[in-house]
Symmetry: C2
Subunit: 249 residues, 2 copies
DNA sequence: CCAAAAGTGTTAGACCTACACCCATGA
DNA sequence: TCATGGGTGTAGGTCTAACACTTTTGG
């Protein structure tokens, strides 16, 4: 059984070393069926999609990844499931952001959506291998396509939540590969906060936290001085996640 | 029409000058009817309440103020409406906190609840004048009664959101009367943060923000030196609400 | 004149900001 | 040897934390 008035949408952020991206899809009927446990579940809500002109295949509208919530699924668990199916990732940073519930946010039917945001590192997953490959695509956060419903509001809300979070919690690290350079970390912060940071001060502040561990490795095959690779100290990472930190550089 | 799978619950915080309190109710059928536009709406969901043993009048369980969401009500608007009916207050600080959606959070039926929290100043409203007077009561935040469902989790989540918010946004002021003393403000912060603060440092920090305006009035009828009364500067207040502030005293 | 809470300043250390040059690497 | 980005230190100003006594008021 499907809860017809309730959907879950995920704003999936990814960082490619230069830009902040969001993962969007064009949800065709056969894809939606993958999300639901039984064919009957899909039949139940099919009319919502068929009635909706913005979901015609001919259209160039994109949407957040998500579907209606099945009766027997916990809310948080289902958000996680959506992410697993879409990206193949299991241990992902995923948090509820906000519930959008204006009466007219979706035409023809009352649907509230509970928005989550996720931070993933695209390097860990080759999207081309996913069964959803044809319909899923990364978009730069400031070059978004036309979006369904109020999805632009949802993305903006998730982005401002990310910006708030990143100031006091070490969330940004979820977007990086296991080993990363200080410059990559700085670029990540600059992209999220939308501002340039001073390199020397940034490094001082980060290193003082003792959050980073020098792996003793370096970049290879770069046409300039190779940068040290760091990883982060899980103990200190977890402590800072609990206690918060002040990262208003 | 009522959305049977969706309810809205409000965690209403009040400050009496000494303690932080939460407003709870014992929702009897005749009271619930007041919240719904038509009698038919109540009939639709009556069975949910009748089936629920925790809602027998004989019981000493209390719950958060809230009901199921009607189809034609915007989510935010309805949370505001609940608050209006309960407290008579109109211009109230009200924010969405979190949506609780575990499958078994309510027995017999799947109900997700969207939790809001509100900050009000009880001095502005005599609860005894409300038609809900018999069923509504303030409880100290650390002397809560037995609570329905997962309402204790909801209160805890709202409280930790309040604690986070208060560090970087001037939300605490909503809990104070128009004119207040610096000691009252300090007590409020101490109660919310659950910690003692240094009086001299607190005053320096607050006054440096230029957020407070000296009304040139003083307390009367106190058996000690009368304290100055302050109000706050709405322009600076609004700016700080936008930009955030650092109140980690 | 007593009890009770209001009100006030200084100092030492930590932290933040601004700023410019040399270093290592591959092509 | 050149182009490219990696890596480093200092000084001045601001903010924070710790700390104790005098003032005003009503009873």
């Amino acid at each position: 059984m499907i809860l017809k008035n309730i959907s879950v949408d995920c704003v999936i952020f990814g960082f490619d070393g230069e830009k902040l991206n969001v993962l969007l899809w064009q949800a065709e009927p056969e894809i939606l069926e993958n999300f639901l446990t039984t064919k009957e579940e899909y039949e139940e809500i099919k009319f919502l999609f068929e009635k909706n002109p913005a979901l015609n295949k001919s259209d160039d509208f994109w949407g957040l990844i998500g579907t209606h919530l099945p009766t027997e699924e916990d809310l948080d668990g289902y958000a996680k499931k959506i992410l697993q199916i879409t990206t193949g990732l299991d241990e992902v940073y995923l948090t509820q952001v906000h519930t959008f519930g204006a009466t007219k946010r979706v035409p023809h039917y009352r649907v509230l959506t509970i928005a989550y945001y996720a931070l993933i590192n695209p390097a860990y997953h080759d999207m081309k291998l996913s069964p959803l490959a044809k319909s899923v695509k990364w978009f730069e956060i400031n070059k978004l396509p036309k979006l369904l419903f109020d999805h632009i509001d949802i993305i903006n809300e998730a982005l401002s939540t990310l910006r708030e979070q990143v100031k006091y919690h070490p969330v940004g690290f979820h977007l990086l590969p296991d080993k990363f350079t200080l410059t990559e970390l700085q670029t990540l912060y600059e992209v999220i906060l939308g501002d340039k940071l001073d390199t020397r001060n940034f490094r001082k502040k980060i290193l003082k936290m003792r959050l980073l561990v020098d792996t003793m490795e370096k970049q290879t095959n770069v046409a300039h001085r190779a940068a040290k690779l760091y990883t982060f100290d899980m103990k200190i990472y977890n402590r800072l996640t609990q206690e918060g930190l002040n990262f208003s550089i």
